[in-house]
């Protein structure tokens, strides 16, 4: 069975919000749109978004890390938001595992939003129906687009490639490999929702220089160290052989 999902690399995300704006741009005019804004230029603006980038500070100064944390619907494999919906407007597609809302059936009772531990669903205050990330369902399967464009808008927009997209149930896929090999984890595992989206942890990039990288480990002619080393001020090979 296919389970499409995003894998978000927190080690790479720089918090630029490009995914937020391109998501809003695509989805406000696409099948899911409009994503209404209330009072956008007023004192108390609010609006409907599928995806938000939040920022957390981890640690105590001076040992702090700034973690940018993009958050959208995680397309849970056991989504608590689906069975509670009284109308059947919320459903999980068997074919690709995407959790969707049928905007023509939704009565805006908000029960599904209560039943999502992640706060991934937002009620559209103008249309009065529940909205959430669709994984750009209207473009990832669109055969009229070139293959490389059949990805969610956020993934295409990310300048650092912090967002990967694919089938996490296919062990050979880029996302499954990333989860497996880079310690991908799920949010709030305590509630058994089995989120399909995974996050890759922050990691320190340490540059290890070993002795044998500087001194030839395998030195059969014993030439290293025999010739005098040029002083640092002397011209190097690059300086003399400039043609």
């Amino acid at each position: 069975m296919t389970q499409l999902a995003l894998v978000i690399d927190l080690n790479v995300c720089v918090g630029c919000h490009a995914c937020v704006t391109s998501c809003k741009e695509w989805n406000t005019q696409g099948a899911a749109g409009p994503l209404s804004d209330l009072n956008p230029y007023g004192a108390d603006p609010s609006g409907t978004f599928f995806n938000r980038v939040q920022t957390f500070e981890v640690g105590e100064f001076p040992n702090t890390q700034t973690v940018h944390f993009p958050k959208s619907c995680l397309h849970c494999e056991d989504p608590p938001c689906v069975p509670v919906c009284p109308t059947g407007a919320s459903y999980k597609r068997a074919g690709d595992g995407i959790v969707l809302v049928d905007y023509d059936k939704c009565i805006g009772c908000k029960y599904c939003a209560w039943a999502c531990p992640y706060g991934a669903r937002e009620l559209d205050e103008k249309q009065k129906v529940m909205k959430k990330c669709t994984l750009c369902v209207d473009r990832i399967h669109d055969a009229s687009l070139p293959e490389r464009d059949r990805k969610p808008a956020c993934v295409l927009a990310c300048p650092t490639s912090a967002r990967l997209f694919g089938d996490i149930h296919d062990p050979a896929s880029e996302v499954a490999t990333a989860i497996r090999e880079h310690g991908g984890y799920a949010l709030m595992p305590e509630w058994g929702t089995h989120p399909a989206n995974h996050y890759l942890p922050r990691r320190k990039t340490e540059f290890k220089v070993r002795e044998e990288d500087l001194q030839r480990y395998d030195n059969p002619l014993k030439v290293d160290g025999l010739l005098p080393k040029p002083a640092t001020g002397e011209p190097a090979l690059d300086d003399v052989t400039s043609w």
Partner: protein, 313 residues
């Protein structure tokens, strides 16, 4: 959670309506078991109409909770999985059966009324379970995820329904007034015990979700710096009550006093003095108290999504 007045009114009024019907039917059954038919027809009519009015008012309030009330008919579809859907079925079923019972009684078909009434009573009990389970089945709302939620919905509804029956019978059927006042007092005390237990339980809860599990980083100190919006969002409006600590405390002690203590005292006074005014006062006081109780029930629940909305900047 943000307590929505539509839902507060729905659950409280509906519960009282079911309770009033159960109180009436209980007396009718007892009467029939004694081989008598001594309930005053006017009292039966008033109790049935009162029960329907309370349930109807609750139903009307529920529409204000919906973004798209014109599509409300769709909400019966998913009764296999959704307690909300089950409630949507049980509520009109209860109202129809209760109306049928009242009609049969009014027409003097007492045997038939007993049968329809039994079905209505079952529907009323099922409705309590549905309403309670809507909240109790969300396992990460730890304040709600307990059998106590269902028990409280049942007992609080029965207590207020019995108080209403005590008030009505004090005027319309004095023969039953004393029995109703005793039953209302007992139900109020029982509800106070189970609601009190829930208060103590919730005060001792430790949230299972933490900032650490929310973003998956193991560090004792995680502080939010931005939530992706400066002006608030659905997430900040729907899941935070926004009330001060003092207001919460006022509501809590207010509902303990008006929902349980005062009505218990009024009912006891009614028993002692046989003055109908005391019994009549107990119901409105208790209803106001239970509205505060329901407000607090919502405000008290801490949604784990709030971990993602701790600060704006």
């Amino acid at each position: 959670m943000h307590p929505a007045w539509s839902v507060v009114l729905l659950t409280t009024l509906l519960g009282a309506g079911q309770g009033l019907f159960l109180a009436l039917y209980g007396a009718d059954l007892y009467d029939a078991a004694r081989g008598r038919a001594s309930l005053a027809p006017l009292f039966v009519a008033a109790a049935v109409l009162g029960s329907l009015a309370l349930a109807g008012a609750g139903l009307a309030a529920s529409f204000f909770h919906l973004g798209r009330p014109e599509r409300a008919w769709r909400s019966a579809a998913m009764w296999r999985t959704s307690w909300l859907s089950r409630e949507v079925i049980a509520l009109p079923l209860f109202m129809a059966l209760a109306a049928g019972y009242g009609l049969a009684h009014w027409l003097g078909m007492l045997q038939g009324a007993l049968v329809v009434g039994a079905a209505a009573a079952l529907a009323a009990l099922a409705l309590y379970v549905c309403t309670g389970m809507i909240y109790a089945c969300i396992k990460f709302l730890q304040e709600w995820a307990s059998p106590l939620t269902v028990v409280n919905f049942l007992l609080l509804g029965c207590a207020s329904g019995l108080s209403a029956a005590a008030a009505l019978s004090a005027w319309l059927d004095p023969e039953f007034a004393r029995a109703y006042a005793i039953a209302a007092l007992a139900a109020t005390l029982a509800a106070a015990a189970t609601r009190g237990t829930a208060l103590v339980r919730n005060a001792r809860l430790r949230p299972r979700s933490t900032p650490q599990t929310a973003i998956g980083i193991k560090h004792p100190r995680i502080e939010q710096k931005a939530q992706g919006a400066m002006g608030g969002s659905f997430n900040t409006h729907e899941f935070f009550h926004g009330a001060s600590r003092a207001r919460l405390e006022t509501m809590k002690w207010g509902f303990v006093a008006a929902g349980f203590l005062l009505p218990a005292m009024l009912l006891a006074a009614a028993l002692g003095s046989a003055l109908p005014a005391f019994a009549a006062a107990a119901f409105p006081v208790q209803l106001a108290g239970l509205l505060a109780e329901r407000w607090y029930f919502f405000a008290e629940a801490q949604h784990p999504q709030n971990l993602y909305y701790q600060s704006t900047s």
